[in-house]
Symmetry: D2
Subunit: 295 residues, 4 copies
């Protein structure tokens, strides 16, 4: 079982997760690009590392929870990266939502130097990270995943264990996000259709909720659309675009045409092009309305 | 309140609905294109009409629950149709899922001759029609809808009352169906993506269900896709195509571009072109898989 | 060979075509919904008919060149329509761009009553109708098409003869229009892409013209886009939408998914929804630009 | 004016272009990953360089004509790359069709070290490279482009000079390719539509050619589709997919939603997924036919 952990990336998700690992008794060294964020954890007794490499040196496992592929590349490769520091046999556990291409690259880079790579993306927002109700799926070499189980269980309410290829976990995370993003666009089209016939969005939402989906997912996002409550964002449109790119990128890497995913990418891209990137991603409903000639 | 009712269309949906109206004490005259289907109801005391017109003559309200626009046109217009028989001030209550264009035409034809038109499409399959757990939305002149309330309540568990234009109910029915059909296509794309990475559909479905949607809607259809359980059909692909046409037709009539709806129409049309029209509409997942090079 | 002709529809296309038939020596009776338009032809010696039926009575062939399916239905069916007047064995030659569904209906209605139906849609605008440089394709029973050849040759520079089913000609007309409409949307996307990189549309057009297409088709429409010359319209966006509907309707009738056609329909529909229907259809480029955040 | 040139990439395009530069009297050092290809040129008097860096050392301009972004990255960056060898003030002229993202990266990398970058992609196949009838567009710092004019004129029949940002040329190349690829898909849909009505593709092509496009572009590709002449490939489907990625990548980099481009990407990706990547890209017509239920 892994005991000495490095943790790289102390953002809105990484900080509460690292805090939970520390509270569960794991020995922790932390690193963040902007050092201030490490302060609280260090005061609680975590070690402060000067680089991602330092974080990985001597660790059983180095965790990453950073913004995107680019940030992940920055902390993994190069002279100050995880790959330079991680001891033979140790594990890189990546919780970042990451592209299929980058997941493959990490998998192969670790295999080539005798370290191991586990993809363990999480489902949930910062509040669920804080109260340990995240869900999580993990894929990688079976013994490596097994060795990480206690650590993963310390930060999430349930762990779905997939197969030996980390790409499995990367693609599951991407595919799940995709369903929600698509629902957003489809609901937007449905609302615009109803609005043109004089039906108030709230009426359609109530019916949709009761007769068909009975799920908070549709209700919450539908409510935002009904209320045009796009600011402040729950999830920014620019992040939605990032996710849409991951979906289409996964389709490209795995040779899967994804027509529905193209629709949402185009909607998100059109919103960002119009300067709406910082609003909640349900703002795509406004674009759909505009295309229908609705004010 | 309407008391003497005509009921036209005794198919898998119409028969149990008419039975419930009869059981609730309404005076009922029934008509079906193939007369056999009326037999049971007539034995129970319902009147047998020789035509849709005869069904409407002397009625407070004539109900229609037929296959599609074409069937609805056949029983409404022409010398043997409802419009020729319905007394001034009486009501045509249409429960058929009907296009926006046909709904407009019916609304205007009734208004022109001093009868009234209420659209009251239902949500649910025959089993729910039988046990009166259908949902239903209704739109039309307020007094006409009000006069029909007891009858509508006798066949459904809940009635959503919309505004004075019957088109509102038609479009709500179409928009709700559209959400589910889209989810089917989007799930199919997600499953294909995961499959290409070696993830079993069942694994993705379990995660999707727990971490995101928590709704029988996704679970049931996802399960069909996982099991490739397309025969016998719960809902035939050819009917899915019909619904997709209604969505796009509504978009055309109301000037609403619906990119996501085009995606599903193309998928359903491609399935029908390949001779899969009688299978369950979740068979679109097979087409999506084929496009990804999966066997 | 047909000699006595009825001609129904004296609009911007029908009038010059009828004039050419008259000038070529055919005996002509004409009918137009608004009677004024027939005046000039009647002064030149053409007979004036009081209805489409009257136009067809005693004719070897009745020609139709009207606005759309709806207008064609109005002049063909019903007590005052062509079908009521056309002698047994005589021919209905339809030059209107018509849907596959309506073409089938006309074919079958004529066959049922012993008259014959030829679809003969034309390619070209009014100026080419006037100077007889239209192209034309014709499909229908071989002897009927043959009997019409001299008349068709009197109004066009070249006639493409297809097979015995009138639907062949209807679909060729639709498919050819479709190519141009698609090019318009694709060019619009290309121009928007180039514009975002600082390339002037005119530069891209010059290169596109010389290195790839060398055809007035792209050049003329590209020039309109470059100049934003949408008013007055060469071809109205609302007519483009009508054509897009014909393409998708043909796909539906013939079970052919047409993803590219859906794209253009959505663009045209979005433009009409925004009130741009009377501008030139190249105005879709403005919508594409707006989606790219270009002013 | 540039006189001493390095030339990197002696494939089917690079070899004839380098040969023409040599024949025009430029002093040439050549490098190719597989050294054999340089042999003929070296026998004619060109210098042989051991690396891309060696090729760039002492040159006024280093030309690249390689397979794709990845190959371009390999010969440009790193210790053996062009950037390490190119003298201050010298020019990197890239003829490879390259992504917007890579073009930006090259532009910035050169600017940062005091060398200059010109994008000069070409239009045409190897036969036109051989007989110097290529077209070419060039963008970059005005003095750098000017200094390269004689060299560019020695390999092409006409040079379109764009603005100071190399991205302009990259995006023009991508946008022009995009028009043709789209035409391929749209034609495929048109042919499938016609085929379902019993119209032979050859008939539609003849009409399309005469009445609308009058251009070899449509005719040649249309003919391949008619003849199902996909093997040997004129242009491989896998390369078409690469181009489609460049289009969508450019749209992403420049924030331009490109719905039509998504359609073609999905078609090409679906073909590659089915193992058709080595056939001519007009093979997409077969996929469109299959979706229409045509054998």
């Amino acid at each position: 079982m892994v005991k000495r952990l490095g943790f790289i990336g102390l953002g809105t998700m990484g900080f509460p997760i690292a805090t939970n690992l520390h509270a569960a008794g794991f020995s922790l060294a932390v690193y963040n690009r902007t050092p201030d964020r490490a302060k609280t954890l260090v005061e609680q007794g975590a070690g402060k590392a000067a680089s991602a490499r330092a974080c990985a040196e001597g660790a059983d496992a180095a965790f990453t929870m950073v913004a995107d592929d680019e940030a992940l590349e920055a902390v993994t490769f190069g002279p100050e990266g995880i790959l330079s520091g991680l001891p033979k046999g140790a594990i890189h556990v990546n919780m970042t939502t990451t592209s299929v291409a980058m997941t493959r690259r990490l998998r192969d880079a670790h295999a080539a130097q005798g370290t191991r790579f586990v993809a363990a993306p999480v489902f949930g927002r910062p509040d669920r990270a804080a109260n340990r109700t995240l869900f999580l799926c993990a894929a990688g070499p079976a013994d490596a995943v097994e060795a990480c189980r206690p650590a993963l269980a310390a930060v999430s309410q349930r762990q779905f264990i997939l197969g030996p290829d980390p790409v499995e976990a990367a693609v599951v995370k991407i595919a799940v996000n995709f369903q929600l993003a698509s629902a957003l666009v489809t609901m937007s089209e449905g609302f615009a259709l109803a609005a043109k016939a004089g039906v108030k969005p709230q009426q359609l939402l109530e019916i949709l909720d009761i007769v068909q989906f009975q799920t908070p997912t549709y209700k919450n996002y539908g409510q935002r659309i009904c209320d045009e409550a796009f600011d402040p964002a729950g999830f920014k449109l620019s992040l939605g675009l990032k996710d849409a790119r991951l979906v289409l990128g996964a389709g490209d890497a795995l040779t899967v045409p994804l027509a529905a995913a193209s629709i949402l990418r185009d909607r998100f891209l059109g919103g960002v092009a119009r300067g709406l990137g910082d609003l909640d991603w349900s703002v795509v409903s406004r674009l759909v309305r505009a295309d229908a000639g609705l004010a």
